[in-house]
């Protein structure tokens, strides 16, 4: 059990259902996010990773669209590329706004906090750049921004939610691949959608982050994927690190006591 005893994420919780089966890889979500949040440009390098020149999420990229070219079939699709099977997967990744959020747990300043919408947000004015949240996140989402020295990641457009507006990325998404809304409703919709996609012949479809019993208690931003999570750069079975923290504390305590005992033993005989 993580230290979530008090964390009751109520009905008001909102989130994203990103249905990657209808993503056209346009990256509007990336741009809209940057425009709204004034996130700095993140490097002008050609990566050769299909059409992905962003690479991954970071302090300066809060939405990232992955492109995967595979020699595998997609449902009944006829790709027409000669004798081989082929499909081109695209998926827009984002902070998961975990139910048990390691970044939030480990933040020593209270910069990261759980909002009234059930999302996880960095407070730029509080963060002192300790960097602890960065390796704590099991998804490799949050990063420390060089220019400001503070941590940064998707806020699920906290300011917009406050004004009753949907997040910039979801609003702009041309095909509605990014769906924003009440998390419970989204989960139901996703279940139906999965069935539909599977029925249509795409047997490899699965939901990711949908299961509230997983290692992070389910995510506030979850996905319909068409392949294994790691293919998209996602961990297959993420666990919030603080789940083990009580045990860590116990071990540390015992070790500390052992240290005292050891030193005491070493000094036991009075000076001769």
């Amino acid at each position: 059990m993580a230290f979530d005893l008090d964390e009751k994420l109520g009905d008001g919780r909102v989130g994203f259902f990103t249905d990657t089966s209808i993503c056209i890889g346009c990256k509007a979500c990336e741009v809209a996010c940057k425009e709204w949040n004034a996130v700095p440009e993140d490097g002008l390098t050609f990566t050769g990773m299909s059409y992905d020149n962003t690479g991954g999420l970071s302090a300066d990229t809060w939405r990232h669209v992955a492109f995967i070219e595979q020699r595998r079939p997609l449902g009944h699709q006829e790709p027409g590329v000669g004798g081989i099977d082929f499909r081109w997967l695209m998926a827009s990744d984002v902070c998961k706004h975990c139910t048990h959020a390691a970044c939030l747990d480990v933040c020593p300043t209270g910069s990261l906090f759980r909002t009234e919408f059930g999302t996880v947000v960095v407070q730029e004015d509080i963060c002192n750049g300790c960097g602890y949240c960065v390796p704590a996140c099991p998804f490799g989402v949050i990063g420390k921004r060089e220019s400001s020295g503070t941590a940064a990641k998707c806020t699920m457009c906290y300011d917009r939610l406050g004004a009753g507006e949907e997040p910039a990325c979801a609003k702009t998404c041309p095909t509605d691949s990014i769906q924003f809304g009440n998390l419970e409703e989204l989960r139901e919709r996703a279940t139906r959608r999965l069935e539909q996609v599977r029925e249509a012949g795409v047997a490899s479809a699965r939901l990711y982050g949908h299961d509230t019993g997983d290692g992070v208690g389910g995510t506030g931003a979850f996905f319909l994927l068409l392949d294994e999570p790691e293919v998209y750069g996602l961990p297959p079975d993420p666990v919030v690190t603080t789940r083990d923290l009580p045990s860590m504390w116990r071990h540390a305590g015992v070790a500390a006591l052992a240290l005292i005992a050891g030193v005491a033993a070493a000094a036991w005989r009075r000076r001769s």
Binding site: G75, N128, A256, I260, V263, A265, A266, R271
Partner: protein, 333 residues
């Protein structure tokens, strides 16, 4: 064949297109995929973000914090057993190391001027927060103890402070283990059972080494014994960790620094307990070796963690195995 229900009447409320299923009308059939041998990743990119922590800062901090904490304990023990020279050097060492660790810690912050924000809250879920509060209890006492000792004023208060620091010291030395283990970095996280012992041992060995280096032979007995004890615990913990962790231990096993750390620690401790009892020079050399060994160990652990975060294999493979295991268990019951 088609599910079209085109309404050409004036019904408003356009349907959203999210029900579109590309690839549903073709001729082919998706074959069920065989799980592939090996593992997939996204262009070999890490799943995790490796810590932004700078090596000299944070690995140094792990080392110095341990040295400070264990030195305070050693100082208290020396003080209580009447080894005043050992107590003094250990107190001074603790304060010195503490200063260094504070410097390293603050230096590593993206916004050092906001260090005090650490004191906004107390978060039991955050080893760094807990550690900060531990440090803020410990640091004044360690400082007090050293100042009283050096100036010779307020001896009673100094003694009380020395004991307090000595009791708090181990927490300083071991919370850092919880700190690095409480991350998603595979090698660190998975090693959380042994890491505190490894850190405690390494810290003790370093404190002992410093005692040997700076205290007269006559008073350095506890330092020598503590160093031996520490080195043994450190090595034992490391060995156990490497055995238990499976694939995630690879970076540990590959680490030259860790090997050097173990060798230096053991050699220093053994030399200390043998040659170091008689020869001041040997004691100093042994002490230096112990310090170096402890530093190597901490840098080794730091680097192994970084390496495990960088390679997606260490994130994906254990998780895959875990999933397979859960599935197998579920199928059994």
């Amino acid at each position: 064949m088609s599910q079209t229900d085109v309404r050409l009447d004036s019904t408003p409320g356009l349907r959203t297109e999210r029900e579109a299923t590309p690839g549903s009308a073709g001729r082919r059939r998706e074959r069920l995929m065989m799980p592939e041998a090996g593992f997939d990743s996204y262009y070999g990119r890490p799943v995790l973000h490796e810590p932004t922590w700078q090596e000299p800062d944070i690995a140094g901090y792990l080392f110095l914090g341990g040295l400070a904490g264990a030195s305070s304990t050693l100082a208290a023990a020396a003080e209580l057993t009447g080894r005043h020279r050992l107590a003094r050097v250990s107190k001074v060492a603790a304060v010195g190391a503490l200063g260094g660790s504070f410097y390293a810690l603050i230096h590593d912050l993206g916004r050092p001027e906001r260090f005090v924000n650490m004191l906004r809250v107390f978060k039991v879920t955050s080893p760094m927060s807990v550690g900060t509060w531990i440090l803020s209890l410990y640091a004044p006492q360690a400082g007090c103890a050293a100042a009283a000792d050096l100036t010779g004023r307020f001896p009673a208060l100094g003694r009380a402070a020395a004991v307090g620091a000595g009791l708090a010291g181990p927490a300083v030395a071991t919370y850092t283990a919880a700190l690095i283990c409480d991350t998603a970095v595979p090698t660190w996280h998975d090693g959380f059972r042994e890491m505190p012992f490894l850190f405690a041992g390494s810290a003790t060995a370093a404190a002992g080494g410093l005692g040997m280096l700076a205290a007269p032979l006559s008073e350095a007995g506890p330092a020598r014994r503590a160093a031996l004890l520490g080195a043994v615990v450190e090595c034992a913990a490391a060995t156990r960790m490497e055995r238990r962790l499976g694939v995630v231990a690879e970076p540990l096993k590959r680490s030259r620094l860790l090997r050097a750390g173990e060798a230096l620690s053991l050699a220093g401790a053994l030399a200390g307990i043998t040659l170091g009892r008689r020869s001041r020079v040997a004691a100093m050399a042994a002490g230096a070796a112990l310090l170096a060994g402890s530093a190597c160990t901490r840098f080794g652990i730091f680097r192994a963690g970084m390496e495990s975060a960088r390679d997606p294999k260490y994130t994906v493979q254990p998780q895959r195995r875990r999933l397979a295991q859960t599935k197998a268990e579920r199928e059994l019951t």
